[in-house]
Amino acid sequence: MSEKTALARFTEAAYGRGLPFLRRVLDGAARAADEVSLRLLGPDFEQRFRVLADRYERLGGDPFGFDPEAVRRAALASAFFHRAYFRTDVYDVDRVPEGRVMLVANHSGQIPIDAAIIGCSLFFDANPPRITRAMVDKWTATLPFVSTFFSRMGQVVGLPENARRLLDMEELLLVFPEGMRGVSKPFEERYQLQEFGRGFMRLALETKTPIVPVGVIGAEEQYLSLGRVSWAARAFGLPVVPFIPQMFLPGGQMPLPTKYRLFFGEPLYFEGDPDDAAAVADKVYLVREAVAHILRRGLAQRRSIFL
């Protein structure tokens, strides 16, 4: 009998006091989460999202598989890295002209977080917001989940045909002419631009697309790579495997919370014969110098890697 009353009392206590308390805690947590997401996404997130969704609705869907709803799902995580983790400072994003445009940036950081952060700055900080169509390696198309994720987020396999089609759609293209050479640089070569591919310039000349040089500072220090492990790359069939000591520490798999700084340069307009190899090489050199100049200036201004 006494057991029964004890149980009844417990139940009563649980329902009378315990539950409301739990509910208050949950409500509080939900409110806090709302506040955090509002602060991360910014008050105008819905408007920004609408601008994009409307654009692709008018186009009758994106032929490359970009899905605005996927942006909404990934927005919170992206905003966390953009605004809280890397605390990106974005300079002169309003220099990006409307319509077709090609962003040419330095590539670094072992994994292409720099592309994601550039994408974030054009979505969260640019007016009007834009979707960045980065050219990804065709190897990623063979990977489950990655290929689908990239496609839904607006990334496109890096082929000239695809780039031309996107520019004809008046999209914003993000190009890393250094490619794999740039992203997998060891630490000692940080902020040293590698050789630029030339395909982007031929395309820009053919399609009369303005080029905006972009300097990314902060990505080089997120993973400290001491070199490339060629046998591991061969063994796993990967394009490159960097040796990153921090990976072996607990939590070291996350990039270091360096401060990102993005500098957008003045748009460059080129004219000329896309088939004249020497002239194209000269123009590529000009773009490379523009990016290098931005990097030099940005590095000189920088007082701390993390602040």
Binding site: G65, P144, S147
Partner: protein, 318 residues
């Protein structure tokens, strides 16, 4: 109501090989009120319209010559055998000989028009495909999927006749996945009770309604049409969206397991899908049909939903 395509400039008959296939029967029905239609197929054509003349013949037989002699002004070649279980060497010989005979008769009897139905599959699904392949893209489909070799060879072999018979308006059509009552791999795939997909892969897909292909063939019969044309349907959508619109239940299988499993099942004759066909639900193989829109005046009449739902039409009639 979709306005019918009018066929003009044909004095003689249109010869349709492989007329007893599902696409061939639809083409015969669409054509027979506008011009004389002759069917050529080893199979019987029991429910044919009265004014369609049918010969139960193979193109390779000597009597096919008499059919050509009776006044043919255009040929639509649909008679390509795709039986994946048959002896592939035998199949290959049959398909190649047929097309060789076909062009021999075309030359001899002065036929002015040949339309061949190839497929966008000849480009092959590949991770490094551009999102939209143009007619100039290399035909790489037979690399991983040897059973498609016949079609690739037929397509390329026929291209030689652009210059060998310059007075003949040869047209090669490469349609995207044809959906409808036809019994081809994509339609069969979408008719499965539970549709398997590859875990983590969701490529963009193009499909074209069977009647849009029939219309494209009729447009290709125009005297001035000549060349290779991609034929696409409504704008592409992800595979997951296709299955969602058709309300199919799906099961996602890791691609390595799927390949091994389908290989075994195909050997055991449990499935009719060979393992290399899995690449079609893994990578993109989509086409740019701008040339057909410009030169043939082609545009798909069926929207996405009506194209997809066509696979369920007459489903229980067998």
């Amino acid at each position: 109501m979709i306005p019918p395509v009018s066929v003009r400039g044909l004095e003689g008959a249109v010869l349709v090989t492989g007329v007893c296939g599902r696409l061939g029967r639809r083409l015969a029905r669409a054509l027979h009120r506008q011009c004389r239609v002759i069917g050529l197929d080893r199979r019987p054509f029991p429910d044919r319209p009265r004014d369609v003349e049918h010969h139960e013949l193979d193109l390779r037989s000597a009597r096919a010559r008499d059919v050509f002699a009776s006044g043919v002004s255009a040929v639509v070649h649909l008679g390509v055998d795709h039986d994946l279980r048959a002896d592939s060497a035998e199949n290959h010989a049959v398909n190649m000989t047929r097309v060789q005979k076909l062009f021999e008769y075309v030359e001899h009897f002065g036929v002015k028009k040949v339309v061949l139905l190839s497929s966008a599959n000849v480009y092959g699904p590949r991770p490094d495909n551009p999102q939209f392949l143009t007619e100039d893209a290399p035909l790489l489909g037979a690399g991983p999927f040897s059973q498609i070799r016949d079609l690739v060879e037929l397509d390329m072999g026929s291209q030689a006749y652009f210059w060998r018979l310059p007075e003949v308006g040869t047209v090669i059509l490469r349609p995207a996945h044809i959906l409808g009552t036809v019994k081809n791999a994509p339609s069969n795939y979408l008719r499965l009770a539970v549709v398997p997909t590859l875990l983590g892969f969701d490529p963009m897909m193009q499909a074209v309604h069977q009647d849009d292909v029939v219309r494209a063939i009729m447009l290709a019969l125009k005297p001035e049409a000549r060349g290779v044309f991609n034929i696409a349907g409504p704008p592409p959508v992800p595979l997951s969206r296709v299955l969602e619109l058709l309300e199919r239940s799906t099961v996602a299988v890791p691609h390595t397991m799927a390949r091994l499993g389908v290989e075994r099942l195909f050997k055991l004759r449990v499935t009719s899908f060979p393992a290399p066909e899995l690449d079609f639900i893994r990578y993109v193989c989509m086409i740019d049909d701008a040339r057909a829109r410009r030169d043939l005046g082609y545009a798909p009449a069926h929207g996405l939903v009506s194209t997809l739902c066509a696979v369920d039409e007459e489903r229980w009639l067998g």
